[in-house]
């Protein structure tokens, strides 16, 4: 069978430069899109936001404060006036948990901010300079890493003395090592990428290469590590307060509440239950969010 030529008509179309139909998305938008699809991470984020709200705004709606004793209502079980009950000095546990969560959040974010600063600085220099400088800096890190951090966190607290300010410093100092390693690894692998070489052939200086090319491409990894270090710092603070090296009365922390509640487990289990439960929920939420961030920024790492 053959078709006559005049059965065909030329298709009318204009030649245009290629068009991209997909709306422009930044890497942040892509990461957020993946994060939203992860139910555990989203659940963690919701719980976390609730806790932040609870800790920051909650105390304004409470009729009690965290340090005033009320010896007429000692060791009350949860009731309508004191939803979480009261402790052995008659203080409202709900209010104290709010303040404790405040301290925990402050410690979590604050100490990570400190180790972020040290870690990026140290890791950035080590990775960018490379060679002998890197070698020496990494051996120093190896030495610090070989000492169990619990050991020197406790030693430092004993030397510096307990107190909120010192916890920030000690936890910041304790946790910068893994951050420095991650940053160094990122910088080291990015440094040899062709886009960095291209910037160098254009004559870009060290500052421009670090600020515009190397660090922005490490941000995802840095955020993931930071997000997973926050719960570690919170737990460490709770632990230090639990053994009496952390926050001192009248300031309250979830750890110190758990410590005093522990003595009354047989008769008044609620005084341990609520602070300990808060620590657990906080840790879980942070870890889920951290894992979600990791999957969102680097989908390949999921397995």
């Amino acid at each position: 069978m053959s078709l006559p030529v005049d059965a065909f008509t030329p298709l009318q179309h204009e030649l245009k430069a290629e068009v991209i139909n997909r709306p422009s998305t930044t890497l942040w938008q892509d990461a957020w899109r993946r994060f939203k699809l992860n139910p555990l991470a989203m659940g963690g984020l919701v719980v976390l936001s609730a806790i932040v709200l609870f800790a920051l705004v909650g105390p304004f709606f409470s009729h009690f404060d965290y340090k005033t004793n009320d010896l007429e209502s000692v060791n009350l079980f949860p009731n309508w006036v004191h939803p979480f009950g009261t402790d052995e000095l008659g203080r409202d546990i709900l209010t104290r948990v709010m303040f404790g969560a405040r301290i925990s959040l402050a410690i979590g974010f604050g100490s990570v901010l400190i180790n972020l600063t040290i870690g990026i600085f140290y890791g950035g220099i080590s990775g960018y300079l490379g060679g002998r400088v890197d070698n020496v800096m990494q051996r120093i890190i190896d030495i610090i890493f070989s000492v169990p951090d619990l050991l020197y966190v406790i030693l430092l607290m004993v030397v510096l003395g307990s107190g909120l300010g010192n916890i920030f410093i000690v936890l910041g100092i304790a946790n910068w090592v893994p951050m420095a390693r991650i940053v160094r690894g990122q910088i080291l692998s990015l440094r040899e990428q062709e886009f960095v070489l291209a910037a160098r052939t254009l004559g870009a200086g060290t500052k421009r290469i670090l600020m515009k090319h190397l660090l922005p491409n490490s941000v995802g990894q840095i955020i993931v590590v930071a997000a997973l270090q926050i719960p570690a710092a919170i737990f460490m603070e709770a632990f230090l307060s639990f053994i009496g090296l952390g926050v001192q009365p009248p300031l309250v922390s979830l750890g110190s509440m758990a410590a005093s509640g522990r003595l009354n487990i047989p008769s008044y289990p609620h005084s341990l239950l609520f602070p300990a439960g808060m620590i657990a929920v906080l840790m879980l939420a942070f870890n889920f969010v951290g894992d979600g961030l990791r999957d969102a920024f680097d989908p390949k790492m999921r397995k």
């Binding site: 430069a17 290629e18 068009v19 991209i20 997909r22 422009s24 998305t25 930044t26 890497l27 060679g131 002998r132 070698n135 020496v136 051996r139 990428q193 062709e194 886009f195 070489l197 291209a198 910037a199 160098r200 052939t201 254009l202 004559g203 870009a204 421009r208 515009k212 090319h213 922005p216 491409n217």
Partner: protein
């Protein structure tokens, strides 16, 4: 290239050597090293395309990167406009940086994923303070059009483009500073064959329009033949043969070049059937411990005693046909 008029030399490489130390530990003695580039010399004429071919690991990319001073040379000189670039201070080097540019191999790795296409191209303008504000935007649009991309795409990120489009962005970036010489480091080997032709044709058009000089590093012999005026063949960090494109393919003199050319498939089944391949024995020696004398002697069918004792010099065998072989 016409042999009559003496061509103007724009870039001259003389005895360029680049070795990488391999023992890098804290207590390393630094004695063992990779001999990546072992004394190569050639001249780049204004307006020509010099192809630099060789198999993987023969040092051709290292040569390109050392010439543009991404690596500091172990020894030797690269003279641009008569001045050795390794002697220049930071300020004069900036001038050379805007004259010699590079196009990279991997279009997926050579663009910063966190920057928009406009900023990637604009960075060159920022560093060299060539344009700012509206002029910068106009120049970016103009460059995008030059390489056949839609200026509307300036606000998009590299991951939204295909490999060929990304390579065009890379080319636009290198053109932003008005370079005279472009080192093309395997600019097409990561692309589909149909896209390869597009990019090569565009590079040829740009050369004509802007009077560019290319050092075209590649391992695809038929593509190099198409684009190059002259071709240098590298083996284990040395140039073994350097001549015009037609001479090289017409009458290769070095046994390595002969073997290399015999490996090109011919797109004609009748001729292809009769194609005689010269199959080399063994593998390329390690660049950590290269053989004495001629590097190719371990695999050369014509090797004699003298090859182990004396390094063959790259000598002119008539009509600018340089060969480094004792028996050429």
């Amino acid at each position: 290239m016409s042999a009559a008029a003496k061509p103007e030399v724009i870039l001259e490489v003389e005895n360029l050597v680049k070795h990488f130390p391999i023992d890098k530990g804290l207590f390393a003695k630094g004695e063992r090293k990779v001999h990546a580039v072992n004394g190569i010399s050639f001249q780049l004429h204004r307006g020509e395309t010099l192809g630099l071919v060789g198999e993987s690991g023969c040092g051709k990319s290292t040569a390109g990167r050392t010439i543009i001073r991404l690596y500091d040379a172990t020894s030797g000189q690269v003279r641009y406009k008569g001045k050795n670039v390794y002697d220049l201070n930071a300020r004069d080097m900036m001038g050379v940086r805007s004259d010699i540019q590079m196009i990279f191999q991997d279009p997926y790795a050579s663009l910063n994923p966190r920057m928009t296409v406009g900023d990637i191209i604009g960075e060159a303008l920022d560093i060299h303070r060539l344009a700012s504000g509206q002029k910068r935007t106009d120049r970016i649009y103009e460059l995008l059009e030059t390489v056949g991309l839609n200026p509307e795409h300036a606000n998009r990120f590299p991951h939204e483009f295909s490999g060929g489009q990304r390579q065009r962005i890379g080319i636009a970036r290198s053109l932003a500073v008005d370079p005279k010489v472009i080192i093309c480091d395997e600019p097409i080997s990561a692309l589909d064959v149909s896209i390869q032709a597009q990019i090569v044709n565009m590079l040829e058009d740009l050369q004509e329009k802007l009077g560019l000089t290319y050092l075209f590093i590649a391992h695809d012999l038929s593509m190099v033949k198409h684009i190059s005026h002259r071709i240098a063949v590298m083996y284990l960090g040395r140039i073994v043969e350097l001549t015009s494109s037609s001479d090289l393919y017409g009458q290769p003199l070095h046994p390595y070049t002969q073997a290399l050319l015999s490996a090109i498939p011919i797109p004609d089944p009748d001729v292809e059937m009769k194609r005689q391949r010269i199959v080399l024995q063994g593998t390329v020696p390690s660049p950590i411990d290269p053989p004495s004398g001629c590097y190719f002697r371990t695999r050369c069918p014509q090797a004699q005693d003298i090859c182990a004792q004396k390094v063959p010099e790259l000598l002119d065998r008539g009509s600018e046909h340089f060969v480094a072989c004792h028996f050429a």
